[in-house]
Symmetry: C2
Subunit: 267 residues, 2 copies
């Protein structure tokens, strides 16, 4: 960062100037490169730690930089886009980006006690095969998934099947039944201790969680799964169809006694 | 929580027993009710704080309980499902759940400096109208959104329009052009200080972030928006169509020197 000093009297705030410089620097350094520490930036530019932190926050928000717990701040690698338009094996998201992940099966067991079966399997849920898979790229954890496969479909599946192939593929091959339709729910969660440990993230890190139910043509549940995706590595994409021109007419109710927030510079 | 003591010698772990009891208690108490503090539960059941925390973690994960910073742990209210199947005004998500949110316009300004326009507007981005809206239900912040409306479409829009109606509606009415197609990206982010303050959340809270681009039939950008949705209040839902039976064939590469994680009880 040997560049002219920041301009304290220009039209751009110090925060904006530092943000622009760091953005350019990140582009120059390239993916995965280390960025000077907050303290280094404070000293180099003679500005407050608050300003430095705000500039880094902005670029973390934008996905340009990423903070790694106890290791510093780095230029982010582009996020993998998982399409929601098509239902397939999760591994296809990696393949679409030219990546072939390693898989580690962390659990493979039958859950037979109704108290152990999650309500997401439905009220008439039977014993289910339960498995957990960790996806790694070059040894680094990238995604963690659990899958429930109800009894009739799980019965013919071996641990070796799951170690070698995606469950989406195995279920169809072993049962001879094709996936017919699906339901997807997406939410955001803070990583709990175990998930954080498995994904090598600080506990509390934001995760995208993708729940998916896939069904046979007669509406039998073939698989219920949850995928925990670190926010720095994944985004979900969708091109929804507008079947017909869509209009809406709504008037916001007038707020009677609304607490006004102080308006602050959004930049 | 006046119930028989936990069974230290039964088949279920203390953590599982406490989780079941708290789940039943949450159902009995109903939405929004307060749950005894961790220390109360430690004393009542004579168990470790780690066990108590783990049980609460499990139920927070499940969406049964929610922790409120400095206030305690409460029975969660059901999340609002925002459908990704259809493109419309964001306010329709609330309406679909019988809620009529109040709106506060936090910003309404023109951004003309190319350095201030986000790259998401595209390389040929022009001056844009920029606005920010906070949605409240019964005075409580629920969602925070920003919207960019490029010059030709933003020019005829007034602050009063935006204060009274959804931008999705205003843009179409003022320009006479209907939305034709859209692109959506979803990711998860930790709330930065400003967003956390606006949404009345602890900084670092997980947010679901919904980016949306909507276009005219000749591919002109009508609007680019970002919606920040607190994870405890929202989930996204989708029923993707399977146009044809879908098969996949993949074999995971064998991991040569893979660090085995200690296998732990996933319950």
């Amino acid at each position: 960062m040997t560049s002219p000093p920041l301009n304290r009297h220009g039209p751009e705030s110090l925060h904006q100037q530092l943000t622009s410089r760091l953005r350019a620097e990140a582009e120059r350094l390239g993916e995965g490169a280390s960025i000077p520490s907050e303290l280094d930036l404070v000293e180099t530019h003679g500005i407050s730690r608050t300003t430095v932190r705000r500039a880094i926050d902005t670029l973390v928000e934008e996905g340009v930089l990423v903070r790694r717990h106890g290791r510093g701040t780095f230029v982010a690698t582009p996020r993998l886009g998982h399409t929601l338009d098509r239902v397939g094996a999760f591994v296809e998201t990696f393949l679409a980006h030219g990546l072939e992940p390693e898989s580690e099966v962390l659990s493979f067991q039958w859950k037979t006690d109704p108290a152990e079966l999650p309500p997401e399997l439905g009220a008439d849920s039977t014993a289910s095969l339960f498995l957990e898979r960790l996806y790694r790229i070059e040894g680094e954890p990238r995604a963690f998934a659990y899958v429930y496969i109800p009894e009739p479909f799980g019965a013919s599946i071996s641990r070796a099947d799951i170690e070698q192939h995606p469950s989406f593929q195995v279920i169809q091959e072993r049962s001879g039944i094709m996936v017919h339709h699906a339901r997807v729910t997406v939410c955001s969660r803070a990583a709990n201790e175990r998930t954080a440990q498995i994904l090598d993230l600080p506990p509390g890190s934001p995760l995208l969680v993708l729940y998916r139910w896939i069904y046979t043509d007669d509406d039998k549940l073939l698989q219920y799964s949850g995928h925990y995706l670190p926010s720095e590595h994944f985004e979900l994409t969708l091109e929804p169809e507008l079947s017909e021109p869509h209009d809406v007419s709504y008037a916001f109710p007038l707020a009677s006694s609304m607490l006004r927030l102080a308006r602050r510079d959004p930049a």
